[in-house]
């Protein structure tokens, strides 16, 4: 059975003909060529496939694309600017050495993007708790926590500056 579906990924609409059993992560990688999202365990444990659906971090290996028709899907490819300039979160990962082999990194980036959007005032302890959902075998997590925390601090400072500027 082949199914016709319409997905919106990183703001772009795609019409696809896929088998219903194809999971979202396989559709992103094989049908759309968005190979930034990685396939790890395929049972929701490792988090390498984490993407955003309507802003919320989800496991792309644990859902079928037909379930997210009409939703706004974002992958790691949406973070950097079109000219390749990394976004602030990616720059923090680089500055803090929040990655070594890099396999888990897209998942951590999308997890952190979704989480910080919802909880901009997250504490380091809360960040530590949240990143426990994804597996990293290289870094020992410390640098990942520091990268996300640094990004959150910078975004808060920027927002404060904006608020101060608008009242001045």
């Amino acid at each position: 059975m082949i199914q016709l579906i319409e997905l919106t990924v990183n703001g772009e609409r795609h019409d696809l003909a896929v088998e219903p059993r194809r999971t979202l992560v396989d559709v992103l990688r094989h049908d759309l060529g968005l190979t930034g999202t990685h396939v790890g365990c395929e049972h929701g444990i490792c988090g390498a496939c984490t993407v955003l659906v309507d802003g919320a971090p989800v496991r792309a290996c644990l859902m079928f694309p037909a379930q997210v028709e009409g939703a706004d899907i974002r992958t790691v490819e949406s973070l950097a600017a079109p000219d390749g300039t990394l976004n602030d979160l990616q720059q923090c990962f680089s500055a803090h050495h929040g990655l070594q082999c890099g396999f888990c990194t897209p998942g951590f980036l999308m997890l952190a993007e979704g989480y910080l959007a919802e909880e901009p005032d997250a504490t380091k302890e809360e960040i530590r708790e949240v990143v426990a959902s994804n597996l990293c075998r290289c870094t020992g997590y410390q640098t990942i926590v520091e990268a996300i925390d640094d990004c959150a601090v910078r975004r808060r400072a920027a927002l404060q500056q904006q608020l101060d500027g608008s009242t001045a």
Partner: protein, 269 residues
């Protein structure tokens, strides 16, 4: 691995989903958040021929107070409960969500799905039994309510008929002095033992345990006499299973510790 082939059916209403369940029979499975089902399908532990997707059904995502009771639609996510302000009466539910998997699981997983899945350590199954929840199911003959105490029949087995769909879970009474805690080797894993306590349950304090038997185990410990703690009393009273790697002795120790911990948390409210 990848799931085996299946046909996808999208339901647009509860009646439509029930119609599909009736038509497709026992080879059909309902999918909501899919956080347990898709993992099982990827492992090929589950190979449904038909999936009935209810995630596009309207009206099942509401959280609403009705007098003393709290109504949760079947498609309410764990994350929505975690972030909802349910007041002191039901904050035990919000707080317990921190134990359900991890954030990206909680953003998709649903209350109704967790109850229908009936894992022996699932937080929602424990909370439902602890707080005398009623599970509202719709079938071809209409709606009926099933008491949580009679709903969980075994691992992954419930009182739900194959053509019935859970539409709502009703928590009928406030539980201001209740708490849930658990232990797993890694945070977010299935609990080895989970313990939930409600000090204001009808008939006296109630303890519900997950992980000790195929379904949640409810105990009403007689405290007061003697110097034993509630955890010691419960640990001495329940049968716990023995399995390679996790002895009954170890599990009993966990029961004692976790019941005392949850009890103290509930009493401090």
């Amino acid at each position: 691995m990848k799931p085996a082939a299946f046909s996808y059916h999208r339901a647009h209403s509860v009646a439509g989903a029930v119609g599909l369940l009736t038509e497709l029979g026992e080879d059909a499975k309902v999918i909501a958040g899919g956080q347990s089902l898709v993992a099982m399908m990827n492992f090929r532990l589950a190979r449904p021929e038909h999936l009935i997707d209810i995630t596009h059904v309207d009206g099942l995502s509401g959280i609403r107070r009705d007098g003393a009771a709290l109504h949760l639609g079947a498609l309410v996510t764990h994350r929505a409960v975690e972030r909802a302000d349910l007041g002191p009466e039901f904050r035990v539910l919000s707080e317990a969500m921190a134990w359900v998997g991890h954030l990206p699981i909680r953003t998709r997983g649903t209350v109704g799905g967790s109850i229908a899945h009936s894992d022996a350590t699932a937080e929602w199954c424990l909370l439902a039994v602890l707080l005398d929840a009623r599970i509202v199911a719709e079938g071809p003959a209409g709606r009926r309510e099933i008491a949580a105490g009679e709903f969980f029949l075994g691992p992954y087995t419930t009182a739900l008929e194959p053509d019935e769909l859970i539409v709502e879970i009703v928590f009928p009474r406030p539980a201001p002095r209740a708490a849930l805690t658990e232990y797993a080797d890694r945070k977010g894993d299935f609990a080895i033992v989970a313990a939930a306590v409600d000090l204001d349950a009808p008939g006296g304090p109630r303890v519900v345990l997950g992980g000790v038997a195929p379904t949640p185990v409810s105990v009403a410990p007689r405290t007061g006499a003697g110097s034993r703690s509630p955890g010691e009393i419960v640990a001495a009273a329940v049968e716990v299973r023995d399995e390679p790697g996790i002895s009954a002795h170890y599990r009993r120790g966990l029961v004692r510790t976790l019941v005392d911990r949850a009890w103290a948390e509930a009493a401090a409210r």
